[in-house]
């Protein structure tokens, strides 16, 4: 039977009579947990932003016709050379069309899949921007602006104008920011473009697009799919790319394989296309957790130290308690509850400090050309971090308290009383 009120009241008296030491130990925990919360919120916020930077605008599966040599050269189909070694020099890519055959039925089919959030068509083509007698090479992508904004957040990267404006203007164009600067153009102006075949079209600038990557902003523009089809002189079923967004990104790889098989097209999933981005995320997470755990362990050692000292100071008290009928377990519980109380108070304060600091960071202005949508430092306010923080505070103080308290439990009162 444990007499908790008595044990807790003794623990409380000890803690309050040495308020400075208690405060130091609790502050150690507070700083540990506070720093952990701040760090992990900030780092994961940053991570998430960087991930979003790629994931927001990148299709989970990109379907297109790859220009590549046939996997099976004609000679392999000929039975008589079946057991021979064939060496073919200068293999050329197979002649095929850029457009996806039967694109519209494929899109319709994909959109019926429950795992797919949306599949939308694009047309990619090379053009020249004409400014006076200067021609600048570039890309024009035909999109469906409204769908594109919904699935791939193109709206976030339009710094002037809007996707709706493009949708509503038949021969409108969203000009890359770098191009606009080069040619001194702004919204409302007209720009002339020329196809590779030489046809020239005037288009009205309805918006400026800035991805943050200047190599792209210097060449990339967007127009409505119909406009691009018209410029290229192609029919309404001319589609070169299909972009797919899934509900669950983990399904991208198997689905892309399935699409490749089913339609004999190239389908690239996001992780294959951006392998480096996942590696970066993993490494950043490892760093975050390594630093946080170090902080928490340091706090734990602080508590261990202070409790150890406290037990040396309280040797007499321990002997008296034992002589007057408190058992070793009672004494251990007294010191354990001191440790856990320090952990609880320090941990809770740490959560508040961590929240406060994260909140401050969240309000620090952070403007960069690369990220047009970001105005302050990104912070991830995740309840899990707070839960992990307080649990770790409790567990580490529990462990830090266990060893010293175990010593107190074993102290022989006779030894102390006679020793004086």
């Amino acid at each position: 039977m444990v007499n908790w009120p008595v044990i807790l009241s003794i623990a409380k008296t000890h803690l309050f009579s040495k308020i400075k030491q208690t405060a130091t130990a609790a502050l150690g925990v507070t700083f540990g947990i506070g720093a952990y919360i701040t760090l992990v919120s900030f780092m994961t916020g940053m991570n998430k932003m960087l991930d979003d930077l790629i994931l927001n605008q990148t299709p989970h599966i990109h379907i297109y016709n790859e220009i590549e040599p046939s996997k099976e050269q004609p000679i392999t189909l000929y039975d008589q050379f079946e057991n021979s070694v064939n060496i073919i020099h200068s293999i050329k890519p197979k002649l095929g069309q850029k457009k996806i055959h039967n694109a519209l039925p494929i899109i319709k089919y994909l959109n019926e899949n429950k795992k797919i959030k949306g599949a939308i068509p694009q047309i990619k083509t090379q053009i020249f921007y004409i400014s006076g007698n200067i021609e600048i090479g570039g890309n024009l992508t035909g999109i469906n602006p409204i769908e594109e904004a919904k699935l791939f957040n193109i709206g976030d990267y339009i710094i002037e104008g809007s996707p709706e404006a493009l949708h509503n203007t038949d021969n409108g164009i969203l000009l890359g920011a770098g191009l606009a600067k080069k040619m001194s153009l702004s919204v409302g102006d007209r720009v002339q473009i020329s196809t590779i075949k030489g046809a020239v079209f005037p288009l009205k600038i309805v918006g400026i697009y800035q991805s943050g990557i200047s190599d792209i902003d210097d060449i990339q523009s967007f127009a409505n799919i119909k406009t691009v089809q018209k410029i290229m002189g192609e029919a309404e079923n001319y589609i070169t790319d299909i972009n797919v967004k899934l509900f669950d990104i983990n399904y991208a790889l198997p689905l892309s394989k399935k699409i490749e098989q089913q339609f004999d097209l190239k389908a690239i999933d996001v992780n294959t296309a951006n392998a480096q981005f996942e590696t970066g995320t993993t490494i950043r997470n490892i760093i975050t957790y390594a630093v946080s755990i170090t902080l928490l362990i340091v706090a734990g050692f602080g508590i261990y130290n202070i409790l150890n000292m406290l037990i040396y100071e309280k040797m007499n008290d321990i002997a008296i308690l034992k002589a007057t009928g408190f058992s070793g377990e009672d004494v251990q519980l007294i010191f354990m509850s001191m440790a856990v109380l320090i952990g609880l108070i320090g941990g809770l304060l740490g959560l508040i400090v961590g929240f406060g600091l994260s909140h401050i960071i969240d309000n620090v202005p952070f403007k960069t050309q690369a990220l047009p949508t970001i105005e302050t430092f990104p912070v991830n306010f995740n309840a899990w971090f707070y839960l992990i923080g307080i649990s770790f505070a409790m567990i580490s103080t529990f462990l830090a308290g266990y060893l010293p308290s175990n010593k107190a439990k074993k102290i022989d009162p006779v030894h102390i009383i006679r020793g004086q």
Partner: protein, 224 residues
């Protein structure tokens, strides 16, 4: 006469630094209401004996009976309970918890025993303090009172659970003559008026002479 404490063939060895036979075949009884003192030269084993009798030292051979119940080889937890309920302690160096008030010091063993309500314990503690003429110190910190007062607080603490026996390890060793006298008178009164058994280890011959019985020890044996 009812026997409170009985020691049968107690033998004790120290292992360090060399093997040493400290207590040799100790046999004696203490009856209810008896005031017994143990005397002997330094190193004759009287304190060692007291700590064995008090159940704090468990490494000995022989049998120990409290209220005719064998307490040798009981678990540490049971021994803690026995100390709490049946034995009261007074040490040479008063040994109060310095961070607590006088009243709390007296109340703690009773709170641990948890047989009475908080209110009853508090009333009991106040009554014991008043009995020892230190009621006015109840709310002072234990570290802020004088030596004689501390010893009286320790006695009040020893009494709080109405124990069967009170043990003292040179309770007057650190006090001046007047305070020694005081402590003796308190002990005497407890023994004659409240029928409490007392066992006190002392160097003080005047103190010992006034007790009911003296156990004289020499070289680990009882000689008279």
């Amino acid at each position: 006469m009812k026997t409170i404490l009985e020691a049968k063939n107690i033998n004790k060895f120290f292992e360090k630094p060399v093997k040493f036979h400290v207590l040799k075949n100790i046999n004696f009884k203490i009856n209810k209401g008896e005031f017994v003192s143990i005397m002997g030269k330094s190193g004759c084993g009287k304190s060692t004996l007291l700590y064995i009798l008090s159940t704090m030292d468990t490494e000995y051979e022989g049998e120990l009976l409290l209220n005719n119940e064998l307490i040798t080889n009981q678990t540490r937890k049971q021994l803690s309970y026995i100390r709490n309920k049946h034995i009261g302690f007074v040490f040479q160096f008063h040994y109060l918890l310095s961070d607590f008030t006088v009243l709390e010091n007296v109340m703690l063993p009773a709170k641990k025993l948890a047989e009475k309500s908080h209110k009853e314990i508090k009333d009991d503690a106040m009554q014991k303090l008043t009995m020892l003429n230190i009621g006015h110190l109840a709310n002072k910190r234990a570290s802020r009172i004088s030596g004689g007062e501390k010893q009286r607080v320790a006695i009040a603490r020893a009494l709080i659970n109405n124990p069967s026996i009170i043990m003292g390890d040179e309770p007057t060793g650190n006090l001046d003559t007047q305070n020694s006298e005081n402590v003796f008178n308190i002990f005497k009164e407890l023994s004659t008026q409240h029928g409490l058994s007392l066992l006190v280890v002392t160097h003080d011959e005047d103190f010992a002479k006034k007790t009911d019985r003296i156990i004289q020890m020499e070289d680990g044996r009882i000689i008279s």
